[in-house]
Symmetry: none
Subunit: 210 residues, 4 copies
Amino acid sequence: MARSTAVSVPHLDRRGDIVRAAYRLIAERGLEGLRFADIARAAGINNGTLLYYFSGKDALIEAVGRFLVDQYSQSDAPRAAGRVTSALDELRWEFTDAAARLNDVAGVVYTELLARAQRDPAVAALLLDIDASWRGWLVSILERGQAQGLFHDQLDPHLVATTIMAAIRGAGMQAMVMRDAAAAAAAMQAIAALIEQWIVRGGARPPYRR
Amino acid sequence: MARSTAVSVPHLDRRGDIVRAAYRLIAERGLEGLRFADIARAAGINNGTLLYYFSGKDALIEAVGRFLVDQYSQSDAPRAAGRVTSALDELRWEFTDAAARLNDVAGVVYTELLARAQRDPAVAALLLDIDASWRGWLVSILERGQAQGLFHDQLDPHLVATTIMAAIRGAGMQAMVMRDAAAAAAAMQAIAALIEQWIVRGGARPPYRR
Amino acid sequence: MARSTAVSVPHLDRRGDIVRAAYRLIAERGLEGLRFADIARAAGINNGTLLYYFSGKDALIEAVGRFLVDQYSQSDAPRAAGRVTSALDELRWEFTDAAARLNDVAGVVYTELLARAQRDPAVAALLLDIDASWRGWLVSILERGQAQGLFHDQLDPHLVATTIMAAIRGAGMQAMVMRDAAAAAAAMQAIAALIEQWIVRGGARPPYRR
Amino acid sequence: MARSTAVSVPHLDRRGDIVRAAYRLIAERGLEGLRFADIARAAGINNGTLLYYFSGKDALIEAVGRFLVDQYSQSDAPRAAGRVTSALDELRWEFTDAAARLNDVAGVVYTELLARAQRDPAVAALLLDIDASWRGWLVSILERGQAQGLFHDQLDPHLVATTIMAAIRGAGMQAMVMRDAAAAAAAMQAIAALIEQWIVRGGARPPYRR
DNA sequence: TATGAATGAGTATTCATTCAT
DNA sequence: TATGAATGAATACTCATTCAT
């Protein structure tokens, strides 16, 4: 029996397994159709075992929310990992990255959580977290750009950041409604160009037109 | 009390009563928390009577969706009813109206339905309807503006319309996340100004800045 | 308006229409699946109108039971209508007629009512009625046969009649189980031959064999 | 009270408990009056526990059908367990046993299932199972009798078996209708004697008469 | 940790029946 | 007679959660 522990090792990250299973099921069936039994089955564990890891459905949903936060913040990692880039390049990458994610299930899960946030303060707080940290990131880019003399001085970085976020979110929503990521991406790029014109100093570049 | 007979004629628009009650409850508690018994009580009718008018929950939700369509299209009425206005004024009114609606429950209900649309084709079709008719309306304004020489000729009205819609939707979503309608309105107005610059011919007006 | 009555005449026999519709539906879906709304629709009338003709479901089922009694007794009509026949011929006709009815829906309806009779005294009484009148008919044939010297004197007509009924019923049940009317008919004819041997005086006929 | 621990081991055969409770309730109130809550109460368990063992009403009814199959096949056990008997004795025992069962609730349950079998293929298959295995048993007896030289060679064992089954079933049905097991038993014994005459070689025995 | 049997409150839906017109 | 809107009690079934092991 000396090596019996080896047999029981495969579940190094039960909580993670559960959360990922729940995340996937929410994307597929929505919060409305989320069933504990299904999650347990998908995670390869027992109905009751699930309750050992999460005290209840709400706790699990919150954990999924936190997992979603990570999903979004992970996309920042490559940027940070890269070499030094200009604030403008970073901004452009923000839009490029968003365009690539228009078909992501994360958007579906986010919408589910946004709907729930209207009456679940814990989820609302989570989404505010995502919002704040994303805005913080954008503000830091914008301020760097201003410091570098790339962007206009008198801009309100918070307003610009919120505008960028609204644009990206709107494009994502539009993609979900139309089920046409290309059209939504085009709209987003249009706004991206307009915003660039707005904030870049001496933006002699000809106005976006099509 | 001269018209007390009105008391005995309570069922002039039962279906409407039910749909409005359901609409309100969805805004309050979401689709997830929608209960037939609650709807019936709110509509002042019996649990079974509700099923007499709607064959099931899905049918009712679809009816609520159609009601939402009407909600949105009604906002077009004042514009049409008013006297002749320029295409630019109409466009500006579009953003003004949207800003005023940022706190509207319609947005919450819309988000609920958008979440559900991911796996309910009937609801998805409804939302596409809203989308198409809204875009159609915007395109007609834009084309009128082009015909009047107000807007650039080479613009693609569909792209511009989709961009406007994405901007408005994004601002709405942002308002829901931040619970700060003013900030979202500011972002929307920023995009509105950028779009105006983009499409208006000879837009000599100084670039929006803050 | 002189001929307005003509317009409202088409329903000379509403009760009959309803009972026939119910009879058919019981044969199709069983008592368990019998729905008032379906009966009304099948009878071409309104849900509520049905209740004008039958005070409730039990009353309707009883009426269907009486209709079934008529169904069975009608098969005697041709015999009575025909010219004088021997008791033996009549007896043979009884089996022949039964064989022809093995696929009849009447058997299905009868089984439904028999099941219900176990806890519905009114239906039980109806079935006893059918039973008694059928036995009475058979006894009268047998007694006539005895009077004519065709059948043995010492036979108990009631026992013979009950035996005949059991044989016919058993074959009907067997047909329902096997869904093979031919096999059931063969079994019934075998018993018929045995019974004939039993009761016919000087039955010199060689024993049935196969 | 030495074995009081038995109290804490009440769930040795939950499925069996449930099926038996359902069987009894079907006999009492019929399928039409079968209620999940009643079954659960009768089985001493919770409403939901029942659904833990049976996925739905249909599954439970099918299980009851299988239980009924066992009920019938158990009656063969004593025969098999006994010492060697002649084929004729076995056949006689068949009728004797059937006569003793004329008042059995199994007949009531069987009738309920037969009614349902008309539109439930699963139940129909079950009844066909009972039918086939019973016929198989009878055929084996008849063939043994033929091999022993007791029964006529040229008999078709399947026809005879079906005839026996029809006779026994008919008597059972007759008993249900008349609520007079004695009269039904007499009719069955009459047919039994006739069949014996039919199949037994050199049946010198005087014809049954009463 | 982990299991899975057991729970029971909750809920959509059915359907016979009533009743104003 | 006839309608059909309205009722509400009845019921199968769901599902998060508990708990003994």
